[in-house]
């Protein structure tokens, strides 16, 4: 896929020059590309919790967000819970859709494609026999995830397919959900 100079009349609100500049900077100074993302989660009650993100490490130093952001998670009443927020698995689906959508906008900007609207619908299949411990052969997580994009833009169907393909190629969350990651959980 050839990089094209962004068409100046196209504005999806993505600063592609800044992103390409960041890539060049990281090629020259790989240490600057070493990031550590952080989140803190506090139990509220029952299966409800609140996660706060307010900073991360990157570009060689600690970075602060403009304000702390909080995300609450809970479970629906069918799980005998209080239903005060999305379930964690829905947050994962949300993260995947947000990441792919951000990628679609960035790649579209870089390729000179003006977006009018982008809608991503996500479905995740899960057999509860896994999380409930009813069947050891069933995994806890999704057995499949489907993402469907509806995009209105000045582009052919092939160009849109290529846009969505490239977005997957460069997506952190797509990589996180499709590939294994070593996870270390400790007790302080």
């Amino acid at each position: 896929m050839t990089l094209q100079t962004g068409n100046k009349t196209v504005n999806n609100g993505v600063d592609v020059e800044a992103l390409l500049g960041a890539r060049t900077a990281i090629e020259e100074t790989p240490e600057a590309g070493q990031f550590t993302w952080r989140a803190r989660c506090a139990w509220i009650d029952g299966v409800q919790s609140r996660t706060t993100v307010d900073g991360f490490f990157g570009l060689g130093e600690e970075q602060a967000r403009k304000a702390p952001f909080t995300i609450e998670a809970d479970h629906p009443e069918q799980f005998a819970a209080t239903d005060r927020g999305p379930t964690p698995v829905e947050l994962v689906m949300s993260a995947l859709a947000s990441c792919l959508t951000a990628g679609v906008a960035s790649v579209a900007q870089n390729r000179g494609i003006q977006l009018k609207s982008v809608q991503a619908s996500v479905e995740g299949d899960m057999d509860l026999a896994g999380v409930l411990g009813a069947n050891a052969d069933v995994r806890n997580g999704f057995s499949a995830i489907r993402v469907s994009f509806a995009i209105d833009a000045d582009a052919t169907r092939e160009e849109l397919a290529a846009l969505v393909a490239q977005s997957q190629k460069r997506s952190a969350v797509f990589d996180i959900v499709t590939n294994p990651t070593n996870v270390h959980v400790t007790v302080a």
């Binding site: 094209q4 790989p30 499949a144 290529a162 393909a165 997957q168 499709t178 590939n179 294994p180």
Partner: protein
């Protein structure tokens, strides 16, 4: 210490082409090879291999293919015979069985340590090419010890492998070709597929290489593409020197199981990426985009009436539920073939001209140290640089630059 104006390391197509170009420019030189002419072709390729490019594309500088089958794909044995003949014809000053173990800089040039004693030279051409060693990922260390592991550089024929299941990692030219013949030998093959390039062998009545040549893709220059690093990482296409298709649909028709990119091995379990659908769809999209480009080229020249009409291939079929994990030893896998690409090998180079990833710093084959040149690297000067048909123009350009360097003239633009 023996001394010569220029040393060429490697007597493959790149080294021979450079030898001829230097002879034509009156540059005294020596071609070193650890073995004989076309050593890697002789010793590090599998028995059934035929060239991916048709014979008409495999001439050497000054000696076009003149054999009886211009549209065939020659076996490696024929290629070796042709290279031997070419070396004699151009009277290349070859020192065989000369292995270079270290190259250092010295006043006014370079010093080579070899098994036949040291050699000094003013300028140096590294012609060991893009495929000097088979790349094996670190992950190979996690394969259970009972499982036989090999690479396309060591593999010769299916019977080199134990009976039983085979995991082939990588679905570029080597991987798909080996998958086909190993499956046909009665061993069940699982093929791990990452980013790949799908190409049809023929299109609209011509070999795909004919079209790539005609539309000018192969002559695109290194300084005319937007993202050279990425283009240089482009894997070899899923092609074979022959008429049988080796795309993923054809391989699945033969019973080969395709899975996503191998991402980890934990205990005895191989884990595969869940992104198989995207790499397949991307390859289909890129193939169709190239075919669209060919169609446009035909249309622009009003050739529609004299070539067959356009066709498109069935999109890559995916397994209903691609496998994400597979037990290796306990799952009947007896061997793993790492078809994970080739890399140049400059480990003998003790000159500060490699980047932090061990790659030669160069612009179009002119290295970042005066007097040092490369040949045969991927997209070194042109898209065809690593092909046999790429050595002619590259050798002429770089020999001219080298001659100017020796004469103390400012080198021509790289």
């Amino acid at each position: 210490m023996k001394s010569v104006t220029t040393v060429i390391v490697g007597a493959g197509q790149s080294g021979l082409a450079m030898s001829r170009a230097l002879t034509n420019r009156g540059v005294d030189h020596l071609v070193l090879d650890r073995g004989a002419v076309a050593n890697a072709w002789r010793t590090e390729r599998w028995d059934s291999l035929r060239l991916l490019t048709p014979n008409w594309a495999n001439g050497l500088p000054g000696v076009p293919y003149g054999g009886p089958d211009p549209h065939g794909y020659m076996a490696v044995s024929e290629l070796v015979a042709r290279f031997d003949d070419y070396a004699r014809r151009i009277d290349a000053p070859i020192a065989g069985r000369t292995e270079v173990s270290r190259i250092t800089g010295m006043d006014g040039g370079f010093r080579l340590r070899t098994n036949r004693g040291p050699i000094g030279c003013r300028s140096l051409v590294l012609a060991t090419g893009a495929c000097a060693k088979a790349h094996v990922p670190e992950l190979s260390g996690a394969v259970p010890p009972a499982i036989f592991q090999t690479t396309p550089a060591a593999y010769k024929r299916p019977d080199d492998l134990p009976q039983g299941g085979v995991l082939i990692v990588g679905a570029s030219a080597s991987g798909v070709q080996l998958a086909r013949e190993i499956q046909a030998s009665g061993r069940q093959v699982m093929l791990a597929v990452g980013w790949h390039v799908r190409l049809p062998r023929t299109y609209r009545g011509r070999d795909i290489e004919w079209w790539l040549d005609a539309i000018g893709v192969l002559d695109e220059r290194f300084d005319a593409v937007d993202d050279l690093e990425r283009v240089r990482r482009t894997p070899s296409p899923q092609l074979i020197g022959g008429s049988e298709p080796v795309d993923l649909n054809a391989l699945q028709d033969h019973g080969i199981q395709i899975v996503g990119r191998l991402v980890d091995i934990r205990d005895d379990r191989a884990l595969f990426s869940g992104g198989l659908a995207n790499v397949c769809m991307s390859a289909d999209l890129k193939m169709n985009r190239l075919l669209d480009t060919i169609d446009a080229w035909i249309r622009d020249r009003d050739l529609e009436d004299i070539v067959p009409p356009p066709t498109r291939h069935e999109p890559t079929r995916l397994p209903q539920v691609p496998v994400l994990a597979r037990k290796l030893a306990d799952g009947g896998v007896r061997s793993v073939v790492w078809a994970t690409g080739y890399r140049p090998d400059f480990s003998y180079l003790d000159v500060p001209v490699l980047d932090r990833r061990g790659r030669l710093r160069h612009a179009g084959g002119v290295a970042a140290i005066p007097g040092l040149y490369a040949m045969g690297l991927t997209f070194m000067r042109r898209r065809r640089s690593h092909q046999i048909s790429g050595v002619s123009d590259d050798a002429a350009d770089l020999a001219t630059h080298l001659r100017a360097f020796l004469d103390g003239r400012a080198g021509i633009a790289a």
